[in-house]
Symmetry: C2
Subunit: 257 residues, 2 copies
Amino acid sequence: MAKKPLILVTNDDGITAPGIRALISVMNTIGDVVVVAPDSPQSGMGHAITINDTLYCDPITIDPKGPQSEYRCSGTPADCVKLGTQQILDRKPDLCVSGINHGSNSSINVIYSGTMSAAVEAGVEGIPAIGFSLLDYSAAASFEHCKPFILSIVKQVLENGLSSGVVLNVNFPKASNEPLKGIKICRQANARWVEDFDKRTNPMGREYYWLSGTFVNLDSGLDTDEWALEHNYVSIVPVQYDLTAHQSIQELTKWKF
Amino acid sequence: MAKKPLILVTNDDGITAPGIRALISVMNTIGDVVVVAPDSPQSGMGHAITINDTLYCDPITIDPKGPQSEYRCSGTPADCVKLGTQQILDRKPDLCVSGINHGSNSSINVIYSGTMSAAVEAGVEGIPAIGFSLLDYSAAASFEHCKPFILSIVKQVLENGLSSGVVLNVNFPKASNEPLKGIKICRQANARWVEDFDKRTNPMGREYYWLSGTFVNLDSGLDTDEWALEHNYVSIVPVQYDLTAHQSIQELTKWKF
């Protein structure tokens, strides 16, 4: 029998979030699982890393019946992957999975996403990596409808590998009475947030703001993650961290500096 | 006479850092300058945004002789751009510049960079944007050799515009006795950090870590930002925030889920 794969699990909602507990339960059916995840919510952390502060990383038992090893880390999702691979694991994992995030990381959300930054960090280290997110911010969100798809996607990644420099961004529609229609391989939709700051005055009379906003999809393509999710498909976007806009190089070379 | 361009200036080293003061001085020769920058250093913040905490953004006078308006913000570089464009400025700026960062944002550093996240945030909002960084972490770093190149690059961007979805990542070699050789349009080098955590014990006996590491360039190409910088050229990488690995879509579509 082939050796079981070693799987590093992390997230950005914190180690006790229902989403990561659901992901751990699926990963336990596939491989040997080590969890290194933030000790507190880290949503919106993007690809932040902790360079001017100390990092703690301690063993913790959350699920006494689970076979997995778990560590809670004081840092960001990217820190968790760095600590996991360099300090906790004694060999390079065969896979890193991040999530299941409580909330969408489709389209432009990928650049703000702690969930995806963990997957990207693993990708940079040469580890096949997948971020999973659910379009439901509720703490009581159901993840059951995601599980068979996660199993299928992870098995394909373990079997086929991923191209160098590529990780997967997987998003699931919110659970409904309609079963999910299947999986679509997509491109990132062209979309943005239009900010709408909520300006308030604190008890000391000083003005402050809360960031809020409205998501605007500017993309009418049928091949985007937004289209797939709106039509009850699971979206998979292959994501790269070579950010070079190669198509612009020739144009810029003509500029007279 | 044409109207002077409105320029939003930000950074990630904080509003009093010498790098942003140098950038402001160049921008004052070109346009009307409004500075919205973090009130404290935000290095390594990636594309973090503040969604679970309050944001402060107050006027401040740092340079009484300067014509620019300045605001210090309690948030991240991306927050500064959002607040600047939505709350401080009364019209969309013609340009957003970020930096000059104390330290490199070439190659893989772009994904961890608060400097570049500010530029990307502006790009998402449809504002031509440039991040500037210097390969010198020192607080006493000299920025004088960067200034004529910044002027030239900004003028070209104001004249030609930038393609939709593209911002510029500009890095400068450290000042030396040799003058800079010129500007190279580059791709992002394939490089990574190999972590080397420094494990210590705190006075209460609890173990903690400091993140450190060694930069490893895995790319021998002559068209990369690392090559240009090593050879005393200014590097410009056009950066996109559509992270889709388009070349992988066809391959993934063949997978049997």
